[in-house]
Subunit: 430 residues, 2 copies
């Protein structure tokens, strides 16, 4: 349940998608690493907040207690700490596992690919953070998924908001996970969860509401930097200062048009410590030129400066920022689009079919195809002793093979091969 | 235990290796499929013989009882049966899991990659089987691993041998798994296991010994086809007839020089029904020109005509033959060779570092690198506001970046970029 086989057409589409993502990661100078699907259970404990209950555990068959990885970020942090690496730019494309309620039509599976790019190291503020946003912008533009917006916020700004609204520090994380639901439910419901389940005072909730419904650009950052309450809070001030710097860098990258500073963005995971972001695709309303409708998140990430320290025996921190591309949702969109277009994706790359028009010529086919393979040419033949020529040409048409190399009795006698263009039926002897 | 992280240098080497293998599979017209790492436990039961106890099981957390796949062949057969596919040529490169005793220096891990190529369908005999052997030959030649031999046998010949030596049919499988150990221990020990543990009569064991110590080529096949006892056995006769045909096709492929018909080859898995084969690397003895020494199996496979039927509710069979490339052992060899050579593999593909020679030029770097990325050029910069030029050039040398694009105050004023060849220190303004 919640997993799927990829048939050849799907595997080919996925290959195409993953190589677009990987070539962007390589364009930004990232190296690949690979870590096991299995991690020690204790490594995953306490890293994912409410997600922890979705971790797949392996049966105790003697030996270590294991679990399947839940994401690629925690294994990366574990890898850095284990190898005492303080500086690295890496990508990792691999499957992760969550015992979640599957919603396969929306691209939510229990086994799914993640494509992560992360930068670890102590650097000048916001330079690597800006690059992560640039990467999201490049990938979503390359894939031509339609209009999108990248929402940006900072955990320090959110925590500052909570503080100046009178929320005790012990309730920052629950308040944050409630704010995180603002893209799925109206403010009134979020407010009532804050007051009811999370135990905030109605006044605090109302004050939070005034902030977290704001979104904008540099103007909003400037306004909040002047906000009489928020500007007094150290964390918020730091966050806003960095946000301003981030916008400066993004404007040099020429991508601020797709960026929205959005105070309702909270992100579910516990480990974020600074900038957070999430890209959503927009669907233009056909009838009216109104506010575009979000069709879901396709990339997300942020800064997590404390995670590596959790795996280091001495707690040494390595600041990190990274992005994860939500490949499954993008795959669903591309798959639906391909289906709608009626286009048939080739699942093989075969260049030529080696064919014979008469019987008793298997040996000639085997000799020729072997020469082609040895010359690096992608070639196939039918696995029959005496196939009909029509069947052989039909196979080319069915699978998209553009050429047939035909050896008949005449060609053998003349020491030539007849090369046929399957589409135009033109033939040359060579 | 028995798993490993791949650091960038290892990941780069593995990438290179896997793409050599995959490009061979594509050259032979195979399509890719992908199946989940998780399978229903019941699907894996009874397919692996003695290997079954090595299957990783997931904890029962409610819902289905799951296990990690043990190989890629059983999931392929399950996929064919589930989708009622009777004809397919596919490859699959992915990780599999075995709770085996790890021997990491020899490349034996609990999580490891398999690279499988299989042909499913009802075809004329030995044509797809011969292609599988051609593939092994191509890959091992391409990778320049040194001399190798591909041992070939047929389960029908082995069973015929057991029958004419007086082994009851119920003991064919245990006898087969004992013969399988002949590459690891001398015949005397194999014989004593047959008589002791497996309960064969000493006479039967001796008679078996006379056969399974034989190896050769077409001459041996001809001799056994004339063997007074073996030629009377229906199974053996079929197997020997097909073996003769296989050698005919392999000779058209020009590869019989590396093929050895070896009656001691048995292969561990239960599901093989016909041709079986295994490639081993040979190490030339330095001092004498004697028999070469085997350094281990690097590919194996065979025909399994009954496996798909085990997954079909009506037991409909789909004949299959396939090969699995033992990528881990090959990886270990290449890794050791790389270490010995002192060659440093680049782990990134960055073409140019964007650098500045003076302070306060971060904006210029950000603008230029953004243009390069948008033009599809692989570019990096240091994540510092004001890095020293020497540090930037040092970074190029450390990571193998061939070019530096330098923008200083003068270049900005002139509207040019200085492009520097890191190795030769030559510069051009452009």
């Amino acid at each position: 349940q919640g997993t799927r086989d990829h048939a050849p057409a799907q595997a080919a589409l996925r290959d195409r998608l993953l190589s677009a993502v990987v070539s962007c990661f390589k364009r930004h100078g990232a190296a690949a690493i690979d870590t096991p699907v299995l991690e020690l259970r204790e490594m995953l404990v306490g890293k994912y907040g409410e997600g922890s209950k979705l971790i797949y555990e392996l049966q105790d068959q003697g030996g270590e207690l294991l679990a399947l990885r839940y994401d690629l970020t925690v294994p990366f942090a574990r890898y850095l700490a284990m190898n005492k690496i303080t500086n690295m730019k890496r990508y990792h494309v691999a499957k992760v596992y969550r015992r979640d309620k599957p919603a396969t039509t929306r691209g939510r599976y229990r086994e799914f690919y993640q494509c992560d790019f992360d930068i670890a190291g102590q650097f000048d503020p916001m330079i690597p953070d800006a690059e992560c946003l640039k990467i999201v912008h490049e990938i979503l533009s390359d894939l031509q998924l339609g209009d999108f917006v990248i929402k940006v916020n900072d955990r320090r700004i959110l925590n500052g908001v909570f503080a100046v609204c009178g929320v005790p520090e012990s309730k920052f994380i629950p308040a944050c996970s409630t704010v995180d639901k603002m893209d799925k439910m109206p403010w009134e419901e979020v407010r009532s969860e804050m007051v009811g389940e999370k135990g905030l005072s109605p006044e605090a909730a109302d004050r939070i509401g005034e902030y977290v419904q704001l979104h904008g650009g540099l103007d909003l950052i400037e306004r909040l930097l002047q906000d009489p309450k928020l500007s007094q809070n150290k964390l918020a001030k730091e966050g806003l200062g960095d946000m301003k710097l981030l916008f400066e860098y993004l404007s040099l990258f020429g991508i601020t048009g797709k960026i929205s500073f959005d105070l309702s963005l909270a992100r579910g995971l516990d480990y974020y410590t600074g900038v957070i972001f999430e890209a959503v695709l927009l669907q233009q309303d056909n009838e009216h030129v109104e506010e575009p409708v979000s069709v879901g998140s396709v990339a997300g990430g942020g800064r997590y400066d404390g995670l590596v320290g959790m795996f280091d025996p001495k707690g040494r921190k390595v600041p990190c920022v990274g992005v994860s591309i939500g490949i499954e949702r993008i795959f669903s969109i591309l798959e639906q689009r391909l289906e709608a277009s009626g286009e048939k994706l080739r699942t093989t790359e075969t260049q030529v079919l080696v064919a014979t028009p008469q019987k008793h010529l298997l040996a000639a086919r085997l000799k020729l195809i072997s020469e082609l393979w040895d010359a690096g040419i992608k070639a196939e033949m039918l696995y029959k002793k005496d196939p009909k020529l029509l069947k052989q040409l039909q196979y080319c048409e069915d699978t998209g093979i553009p050429l047939a190399a035909i050896v008949g009795e005449q060609e053998l006698a003349d020491g030539v091969v007849k090369l046929r263009d399957v589409a135009t039926r033109q033939e040359v002897r060579m």
